[in-house]
């Protein structure tokens, strides 16, 4: 059974009396420990979709099932990573940022600190536990955000173009790191991106969306062995297939 199931989800924004249909009849499932990338041009409703999964928005029509039950609002069963570096709390050190979710769960201080350090080590930031966000590079800040979303042990990780604002080289490093983190933690991941190579590199399955209104055009299962080689012929073949459907 799928861990997440979207059933004919539609979403309509109303802004200044104008209505925008951002999602129309979106339906797909995400299996346990599966890495699903949602790919599409900007404006096709990816962020809206992720905000619905995170519980920030409620579908206008249709429903989302989590572990077989209808999803209502936010929950500690899901961790969220946004695109914007500003998502970290500037007044907390890297470690205290990562501790935030654990604080909300009522985890005792010592255990919190140990867990936070463990996850910062997982993302390669064990030397920066005491640094404030503004003292870290963009890539490091996003790694803290990933550690923060993982630390309170949600079963699902939701990511909205987390590396889009990074330079190309850093982005490739981060993709490798994320693939490693995923292999270690075996979270269920829904990862939104408009970068085709990124999707082919990371995903078990790619959900391709098209805009006006946002709908699922097709799905492609990526069977390449990991770690994947972005320069291999097979990798490029997958990229071509995705681009053809965009």
């Amino acid at each position: 059974m799928d861990q997440i199931e979207l059933r004919a989800v539609s979403f309509e924004y109303t802004a200044n009396g104008r209505r925008v249909l951002a999602l129309s009849d979106v339906a797909f499932g995400v299996g346990v420990s599966e890495f699903v990338c949602v790919v599409g041009r900007s404006g096709c409703g990816k962020t809206t979709l992720l905000n619905i999964l995170a519980g920030f928005l409620t579908p206008t029509k249709g429903e989302v099932l989590m572990d077989g039950k209808t999803l209502h609002g936010r929950g500690l069963d899901r961790g969220v990573v946004f695109q914007d570096f500003a998502q970290l709390f500037p007044w907390r050190t890297a470690q205290r940022n990562v501790e935030f979710g654990l604080e909300m769960k009522g985890v005792p201080r010592d255990e919190r600190a140990a867990t936070a350090r463990r996850f910062l080590t997982l993302v390669g930031l064990d030397k920066f536990t005491g640094a404030y966000p503004h003292e870290l590079s963009g890539g490091m800040q996003q790694r803290v955000a990933i550690a923060r979303a993982l630390a309170y042990n949600p079963s699902v990780l939701l990511m909205d173009e987390p590396f889009a604002a990074l330079d190309a080289l850093t982005r490739e490093d981060m993709q490798r790191l994320l693939a490693d983190v995923w292999r270690e933690t075996k979270k269920t991941v829904v990862y939104v991106t408009h970068n085709v190579a990124e999707a082919v590199y990371l995903a078990d399955r790619i959900v391709i969306m098209t805009p006006h209104p946002g709908t699922v055009k097709s799905q492609i299962t990526v069977t390449l062995r990991r770690p994947r080689d972005p320069l291999s012929i097979e990798f490029l073949e997958y990229q071509k297939r995705v681009v053809a459907d965009l």
Binding site: F56, V80, F82, Q87, F100, M104, Y132
Partner: protein, 261 residues
């Protein structure tokens, strides 16, 4: 001494030097009699006398006592009210009209009223400082809450924060740059209020009273000496309290750029 500090002093010496030259030119111009525009050669010894007799410190003590009480009360009331206004539309709708009407009234306009209520002395001056300081605190805190990055709220909510936790752990620190700005503005207004209040409502003590009393005896040197004391206290607070506070919090966190020493 750090290089930054040395530079600060070099700049200060230059600008004060220029101000002193301009003042001396004015004092010697004969525009007013020397008794009314005394030279620094008269002001400085008077100032030294005030300091060495210790009297000035008693006056400073009284004035600071009034300011700090008034400010403390203003923060105690102003920060919660500002937070509530930023958080609850109803609180905003209720408080804002009141603040909009009251805050443009100069605090000094209340002096006669407060004297009637509290009599001459500390209470009237403290009430005046409280009045002057509360509005900047309320308005800045309110703005601070509304300017908190939405993404911080979202991120916190995604991690299960809500209600009091969200407020204490995200909204309050997130609005701190504005709260500090309000504190600073309130302090500046407190000086205006306390000096004005002491001129009219104080009995025998306080820097404002010294200035006013000196007028009675045509002691322009004493008046100007006291003005210098007020200026020095202002700089002292700015550098020792506000800049330190900023540097250790919002500056340390990269939320504002702080002035370099």
């Amino acid at each position: 001494m750090s290089r930054g500090l040395a530079r600060f002093f070099a700049g200060a010496v230059a600008s004060f030097g220029l101000a002193a030259v301009v003042w001396e030119a004015f004092a010697w111009s004969g525009l007013f009699s020397p008794a009314l525009s005394p030279s620094l050669r008269v002001i400085v010894p008077t100032l030294v006398g005030m300091v060495s007799s210790g009297m000035i410190f008693l006056h400073i003590g009284y004035t600071l006592y009034r300011i700090l009480w008034g400010l403390a009360l203003a923060l105690l009331l102003g920060i919660p009210v500002g937070l509530l206004m930023g958080r609850f539309k109803a609180a905003e709708r209720f408080v804002l009209p009141l603040v909009s009407v009251l805050s443009p009234i100069p605090s000094l306009a209340w002096v006669p009223v407060f004297i009637l209520w509290f009599g001459l002395g500390d209470a009237a001056s403290i009430a005046l400082v409280f009045y002057a300081a509360t509005f900047p605190v309320v308005l800045n805190t309110w703005t601070g809450v509304r300017s908190v990055n939405r993404l911080w709220i979202r991120a916190a909510q995604a991690m299960g924060a809500g209600g009091a936790d969200l407020f204490r752990k995200v909204v309050l620190p997130g609005s701190l740059p504005f709260v500090i700005a309000g504190f600073r503005q309130a302090f500046a207004r407190s000086w205006i209020a306390v000096v004005g209040g002491e001129m009219i409502a104080a009995t025998n003590w306080g820097l404002g009273w010294v200035i006013f009393d000196s007028k009675e005896f045509l002691r322009a040197d004493m008046m100007l000496g006291t003005l210098i004391v007020i200026g020095v206290l202002g700089v002292g607070f700015e550098r020792l309290v506000f800049q330190q506070l900023e540097r250790r919090t919002v500056g340390r966190w990269g939320m504002v750029r702080t002035a370099k020493a």
